[in-house]
Amino acid sequence: MARGTIVAPRERATRGRSLRPPLGRRVREWLIEAPLALAALVSIGTTVGIIGVLVFETYEFFQVVPLWQFLTDTQWTPLFSEKHFGIIVLLSATVLTTVGAIAVALPLGLLVAIYLAEYASPAARRIIKPVLEILAGIPTVVYGYFALLFVTPILQAILPQTAVFNGASAAIVMGIMILPMISSMGEDALAAVPRELREGAYALGATRFEVATQVVVPAASSGLMAACILAVSRAIGETMIVTIAAGQSPTLTLNPLVPIETMTAYIVQVSLGDTPYGSLEYKTIFAVGTTLFLLTLLLNIASQWLLARFREVYQ
């Protein structure tokens, strides 16, 4: 924290009574500070609220549906008369689109990060970084439009068996969406590698490519890993692209060319219908939400832990 070197008045004042600010002034200061602290506590309230809502509704859900069935059933049909609640169906769709998105975003994002950190001239960076920022700022519903109306027709032209709704086009576009995240976090990680390491490798006669791939990238590996995990978490929670482009048919499949339904798409599907409050269908979205929340929370914590370790190494 960049606070000055001089001791703040409150600490200094306690040493001599005469320097202590008058009571009225201290009350006024407190009156200013209390609401500020309250505002900071709103964030704690948000977390408590999220966990409270999820736990409450999910508990009610598991009063009706046994946890074992939730985890092992291979069908997901809560909206039919014969109900099945196998989360694996939605989870597999989420995993399929996420793996596809990472398969697109990770190699591209890493190459972009290496280019920005090791090769690009300042002029090139001035063009590339804003473009990546624009990509990161485009609303996801726009990406959904792009996946369904631009990428899917191209896929259908190449592979005629591709359905209108499919996991592949959603995954590709989601990969483009998370590319800026990997490239900017990756660039930060690469740039944090001390110059001495690079200079040492150059002094041993390494080429720029060898320095980048054999010295800088391994040295930044935990930072790059953190970026990758955060990207996975982002892809798992992404909603509009998969809802628009991947479809709303809960199918247990690893085929990327047929309609599927991810966890997030299911929540949207139920929210769009007129599900009565308190019904079992209503509670399913909270059970799905809890699964989603736990998954992303674990990944976020893992990412933060890796980043903290990375910072420790180079400070």
Binding site: G4, S43, V141, Y145, I285, Q304
Partner: protein
């Protein structure tokens, strides 16, 4: 002597090829952006008329417009700013300038970092459970704005803190030396100096609020609405939900309307960001040390 030379040449060639590969990967991002914008413009510009801006949605594509969605988005972003901006700045100021480095500020810090990574649809479930059901605000623009305010709060807090941290310590010391209280230092000296960064955070947060779709669908914002909200307790729709609705229909005529809606949405976001850059530069010019 020939062998080492050729090895070196090969190593250099590999390096050159790798650099080209990196460049190619980078141009993929730029290329996709161009293709995306061209496709939207090609499909959406013909139907982007004055009637499109002023008509309510309709079953007939030629009569459909975004009036309700545009006004709804304005309501939503206005109310979201009303809730999130003061709270976010206050929380950022407290964490950076007031809070002692104790367990409480650490817990809040970790908590904010985690909240920033929670998927937006989870905030929708929070809004559904708390604002729509428990507090009985129903599917109103108030529920939507409160949900969205919680969603963007971490962005404002994190950016405010970074901006405050960047203010030189000498400014604080000078103010303290003149006998100012902590609050006078914070509100009279540090915060004005940090204003450009704080503004950037606010604009980022509001851009996010304008573009978000999923949490609003979850709290039950309507997809078809033929009137304007008159109070915070009225039902509403927003531009991204209207676009989603049109994209989801099978008829190509509605896809064109979706593209027109996207053009409007992107223009709004673009002008918001231009405004942010302008304000930031102006604030920066008046503040020099």
């Amino acid at each position: 002597m020939r062998v080492p030379g050729s090895v070196m040449a090969r190593r250099r060639a590999i390096g050159r090829a790798f650099e080209l590969l990196c460049l190619a990967a980078t141009s993929v991002g730029i290329l996709v952006l161009i293709v995306l914008l061209v496709d939207i413009a090609r499909r959406g510009l013909p139907t982007l008329t004055w009637d499109f801006l002023t008509n309510y949605p309709s079953r007939f594509p030629e009569q459909a417009g975004i009036r309700a969605a545009l006004v709804g988005s304005l309501w939503l972003v206005g109310l979201t700013a009303l809730f999130a901006v003061p709270t976010g700045i206050a929380a950022g100021v407290w964490l950076e300038e007031y809070a002692r480095r104790g367990w409480l500020s650490r817990v809040i810090e970790v908590n904010i970092a985690n909240l920033a990574g929670v998927p937006s649809i989870i905030y929708g479930l929070l809004g559904l459970g708390v604002f729509v059901r428990a507090l009985q605000f129903d599917r109103s623009v108030l529920s939507g704005a409160l949900t969205m305010a919680l969603l963007v709060l971490p962005i404002i807090i994190i950016n405010t803190r970074e901006a405050l941290r960047a203010v030189p310590g000498s400014l604080r010391d000078a103010a303290y030396a003149l006998g100012a209280t902590r609050s006078q230092v914070v509100w009279g000296v540090v915060l004005p100096a940090a204003l450009p960064g704080v503004l950037t955070g606010i604009i980022l947060a509001l851009s996010r609020a304008i573009g978000e779709t999923a949490p609003l669908i979850t709290i039950g914002a309507l997809t078809f609405i033929a009137f304007l909200p008159r109070s915070p307790l009225d039902p509403f729709t927003v531009l991204p939900i209207q676009i989603f609705n049109w994209v989801s229909r099978p008829q190509p005529a509605f896809h064109q309307l979706a593209a027109s809606g996207i053009i409007v949405l992107l223009l709004v976001l673009l002008s918001l960001n231009a405004l942010a850059i302008y304000l930031r530069d102006r604030a920066r010019r008046s503040m020099q040390w």
